[in-house]
């Protein structure tokens, strides 16, 4: 996750981008998802403060932003580890043994699915279909996909993610 120089808002570059994007839509509220993405990119998760800031930025009421944040599953509503491991367990991955991957990750990280390691390095969650069915099993870590996984590959990936 990037760390913003500005702890209470969005970077200048992101603020400029938001203003540019508003011109692409009939209603500035359309940039809400993008603004939330930016907040999450800079701060790691979307706090109450983040929702109020973004609401003000896009001109939407706070309750609307809360409704949107709670609707879309990719927005973190509480802090997560530096690396969020999202293991797909939907049908195509399930048929190629994603369950074994998830069990392996739980054992190695000594946490249950949904939890974060005490050193705050990893959060482990189950994902719905990632669109990696032809390269299953797969997991997403941040913006990156890891595919055709087995337990050895997963071990190597974990070693690389500091």
């Amino acid at each position: 996750m990037n760390t913003s120089e500005n702890n209470t808002g969005l970077s200048e570059a992101n603020l400029r981008r938001i203003e540019q994007l508003k011109a692409h839509y009939q209603n500035p509220q359309s940039v809400l998802l993008e603004a939330l993405w930016m907040w999450q990119g800079e701060h790691g998760w979307i706090s109450e403060e983040g929702m109020r800031y973004v609401a003000n930025l896009v001109g939407a009421p706070h309750h609307h932003v809360l409704g949107v944040v709670t609707f879309y599953t990719m927005f973190n509503r509480k802090p997560v580890g530096r690396h969020k491991l999202e293991v797909c367990t939907n049908v195509s991955c399930m048929l190629r043994n994603s369950e074994r991957l998830l069990n392996h990750l739980e054992a190695r990280l000594q946490i249950k699915t949904g939890e974060t390691t005490p050193d705050n390095r990893f959060t482990l969650v189950e994902a719905e279909c990632l669109g990696s069915c032809g390269t299953a099993p797969a997991m997403q870590v941040g913006d990156r996909y890891y595919e055709n996984l087995d337990t050895a590959k997963v071990d190597k990936i974990l070693d690389e993610l500091k």
């Binding site: 692409h24 509220q29 949107v68 599953t73 049908v91 048929l95 719905e128 279909c129 990696s132 069915c133």
Partner: protein, 412 residues
């Protein structure tokens, strides 16, 4: 068939390479035609939407008002979240300019000044590829003001989702573009009258739009002769699950399902028998492995077989598959993704998941089988959008064709 959607040309995603292979020539051709001629050409091609519903694309375009006091919009649906579906991702990665070219042609045909490509939030890597292609297309004058000196102008915006299967439903998608929760809207009114911001809107799938330059290049008549007569054209079939070579394969419509599994995808590992196949993504009815003879990958053949072509996401399950567990996982998915607006879906998907879990744990009863079917029947047709039907169909079809799987799991 020469690949028309995913040509095996190195670096085809780069604008110079695309241009060197006659890329954007069809945009030039289109801009010299009358808009209505393009829609007529698409109608004559018999192209049907590749997002799941197989609706005739030219007919959909013709629903857009010719004259409109309000602006008109195009949404290109790249939400691609149907389990078993991973084809649009290939277009983003390997052929984004054909998608952009098709989008601008569609905008010209319908008099649209702004297009939004909606891409699921997880596909950030592919969004970056497409955004680069869009930026390059702007720089080369294929998007923006006065495109190629024609006087026609249109804008193109890539809109990132944030994790919601339901946003692939066209009215949810529009709400998501508007910065709302992705709730499906009640129809009518239909998007062509009252869509994005209450304005006339057309929503087409990514693969559908990528077909548009092909139709103009080879001609509607030649296009309509590719593959199955009533559902022609090239189609991207994603094969996953128990096959030796999973992946996306381009082929004409109408290829036998068994040929797709055994020839294109290299057959089932260990030469095991096929127990079941989901032919078109998780929303389509499950087919028995011993009933695949003569079933082909097109809308009419799969309909006759009791299923649907859907998004052409073929999921293959070998004889050792625990089908009840697969069905439970699918039910869990729909429960998770139900938007919660309609009671039958919000509650029913959860009940189905719970009942199926009892069978997974060998703890079901004979009455549970009937209860499960009853819940599915009461979801189907009783919701605003098709997610309810999509949740009900796999359950109904597995109870009908694999009842023994449940009876074996009844507690002793």
């Amino acid at each position: 068939m020469e690949p028309l959607l995913l040509p095996p040309i190195p670096d085809y995603h780069r604008i110079e390479v695309y241009e060197a292979h006659d890329g954007y020539a069809m945009l030039k051709k289109a801009l010299a035609m009358k808009p209505v001629e393009i829609t007529n050409e698409v109608k004559a091609s018999k192209l049907r939407g590749r997002g799941g519903a197989c609706f005739p694309t030219g007919l959909k375009w013709s629903f857009m008002p010719r004259e409109s006091a309000k602006p008109k919009y195009l949404c290109v649906n790249g939400d691609e979240s149907e389990p078993g579906t991973f084809k649009d991702r290939q277009i983003f990665e390997c052929n984004p300019h054909q998608l952009i070219e098709g989008t601008i042609i569609a905008c010209y045909a319908m008099g649209i000044k702004a297009a939004y490509l909606y891409v699921r939030g997880e596909y950030k890597h592919w969004i970056d590829i497409v955004q680069k292609a869009v930026d390059d297309a702007y720089a080369h004058g294929y998007i923006g003001q006065n495109i190629l000196g024609s006087g026609f102008s249109t804008e193109f915006t890539v809109h990132r989702g944030a994790g919601a299967y339901i946003c692939g439903e066209e009215s949810s998608l529009m709400n998501s573009v508007e910065g709302e929760r992705g709730y499906p809207r009640v129809k009518p009114p239909f998007p062509a009258q009252n869509g994005l911001w209450g304005c006339p809107t057309t929503i087409n799938n990514v693969e559908t739009i990528a077909n548009i330059p092909v139709i103009l290049r080879i001609g509607a008549v030649a296009y309509s002769k590719i593959g199955a007569e009533r559902h022609p054209g090239p189609i991207l079939v994603g094969v996953s699950g128990h096959v030796n070579k999973p992946g996306v394969y381009e082929m004409p419509t109408g290829v036998p399902l068994l040929e797709i599994i055994n020839t294109y995808a290299g057959g089932v590992p260990g030469n095991k028998k096929i127990k079941a196949v989901i032919p078109g993504g998780s929303s389509t009815m499950v087919l028995r492995g011993d009933a695949l003879d003569g079933v082909c990958m097109d809308a009419e053949s799969l309909k006759a077989a009791g299923s649907a072509v859907g998004t052409a996401g073929v999921i293959v399950m070998d004889e050792d598959t625990d089908l009840v567990k697969v069905l439970w996982r699918i039910a869990r998915f729909y429960h998770h993704e139900s938007c919660g607006q309609c009671t039958p879906c919000r509650e029913g998907t959860g009940w189905m998941e719970k009942i199926l879990k009892r069978f997974v744990d060998n703890n079901g009863s004979y009455a549970d089988i009937d209860l499960l079917r009853d819940v599915a029947n009461n979801i189907e047709g009783n919701t605003i959008c098709a997610l309810g039907d999509a949740a009900a169909w796999p359950v109904q079809s597995v109870i009908r064709t694999f009842r023994g799987e449940f009876e074996r799991r009844v507690r002793g």
